[in-house]
Symmetry: C2
DNA sequence: CCTTGACCCTCACGTAGCGTCAGGGTGTAG
DNA sequence: CTACACCCTGACGCTACGTGAGGGTCAAGG
């Protein structure tokens, strides 16, 4: 079954001009053209368009999307699972905006002063966009680690793997303590240094974001849960405590 | 309490460049400048910025936002209530996207073919943007009715009011019937013609959207409920039936 | 066959809303 | 004084299309 541009436009909710543009930049090309030059899209074209639209919805630029989709190891199913998770977080953001409205109204009704900070909760979308980019390797940090990785030998990788496992094991063994316990902080600090030395320059801000990923990214969550039940949440708290102490 | 650009940027989650831009176009201006030229924002500036960000979140352009905020009768509280409702609908959209992912995955897992239409549910944002514009009078139709209204006299307005009330009353009196009942359709048709004659060129598509507003916009819902409990939903169904019949 | 209307094409100008950078001033703590 | 964080204005550039011009294609109906 083939679709012309109007059919695809109606189906997908994008303009014909957008489809022309995506064809022109090689992002979503129709499988064929009629003799008259009409574009005819097939099912796999629609699959790709769907992916484009999800990535776009999550804040990626078109060139970024193209790079991701063209990876030889791109896996559609894996991507959909990711989209699902990230969209859930986007929904959280809207809920935060809704609550900001409610809090603002409360402040107006009851004559009490609500902090201005409350008014703006949810507007800053960078956290969510950063999360999406972390997942797909579109951060400056990822690029830096790629460059370093290019220089690693097999032995290097084995050493890195052992070191990382060792640190995580240590943290897991301390998971019954307070996240702010000095030994916990020391172990988390080793992780921070490990990343800085082996992968990329990792600011406290970024490290804190990685801590959050332990809870919000199912790949990390699963891995950490296998090490020890409850570890994701503990790790996040421990990283947060470490970052707060290091900043002071 | 005064805030400089960095403070506002951190508070509201917008860039300093954005604040410069908003000042330059007169959208959000700081209440004063220091002798060195630093911008100092006050509470009411932040209130306005909050409104700008909500409208922007809902898809309005900056010029549109300015026009709305500068109306003498702009009411902050009324606006917040609207934002609340519209954001709830935006959340619905994200939920639709999430379900589209789920349905796509189901189709892949079970080897059954899911219609391509399902893949794209939620991507078309025009419905939501149109809804927001309807509320704030930023549609071509609204502009047309404004022009016509300029030519109406007091007597015209009275006649229009009576006519509209009469039509709505008729529809309400038929609300116990099937929405596709011929008499219902005739009454709804009178409303359609009324709008075309008195306000603006109203396509079936647009009229259908107005029917939806009876349910989704609390102002219409309240008014219609007062006429008769359950009328909003009935009206929506009746308009939908009328539009379907008229298209055939 | 002609007409009409919906759909298709390419080309190309223009834009909204900033991001980024250059170059230089201001305020505060050590 | 130095260093650092913050501030200013000016201005180039960019992404992702929207819009319009001008013209071809397809299919149904007269």
């Amino acid at each position: 079954m083939a679709y012309t541009v109007k059919a695809v436009s109606d189906l997908a909710g994008v303009s014909i001009r957008t489809l022309h543009h995506y064809d022109a930049i090689g992002l979503v090309r129709p499988r064929e053209r009629t003799e008259a030059g009409y574009r005819l899209y097939g099912r796999s074209d629609l699959e790709r368009l769907q992916q484009v639209l999800f990535f776009k919805e999550l804040g990626f630029g078109l060139e970024e999307i193209r790079e991701i989709l063209d990876r030889p190891d791109f896996d559609r199913r894996r991507a959909l699972l990711d989209h699902h998770e990230l969209l859930t977080h986007r929904k959280d953001r809207i809920e935060r905006l809704i609550r900001a409205v409610e809090r603002t109204l409360e402040g107006m009704e009851e004559g009490k002063t609500v902090e201005e900070r409350v008014w703006f909760d949810g507007f800053d979308a960078t956290q969510y966009e950063e999360e999406a980019r972390q997942r797909w390797g579109h951060t400056a940090a990822y690029k830096e680690s790629r460059e370093r990785a290019a220089a690693y030998s097999q032995a290097d990788w084995e050493a890195i793997g052992s070191e990382q496992t060792s640190i995580l094991r240590d943290i897991a063994s301390l998971a019954d303590r307070d996240p702010a316990d000095p030994e916990v902080l020391a172990a988390v600090g080793r992780m921070h240094r490990f990343i800085n030395e082996r992968f990329y320059t990792c600011s406290l801000e970024m490290f804190r974001g990685l801590g959050d990923l332990a809870v919000s990214d199912s790949r990390f969550t699963e891995t950490y849960e296998k090490l020890r039940p409850g570890l994701p949440a503990f790790y996040k708290e421990a990283v947060a405590a470490y970052c707060a102490r290091s900043r002071a």
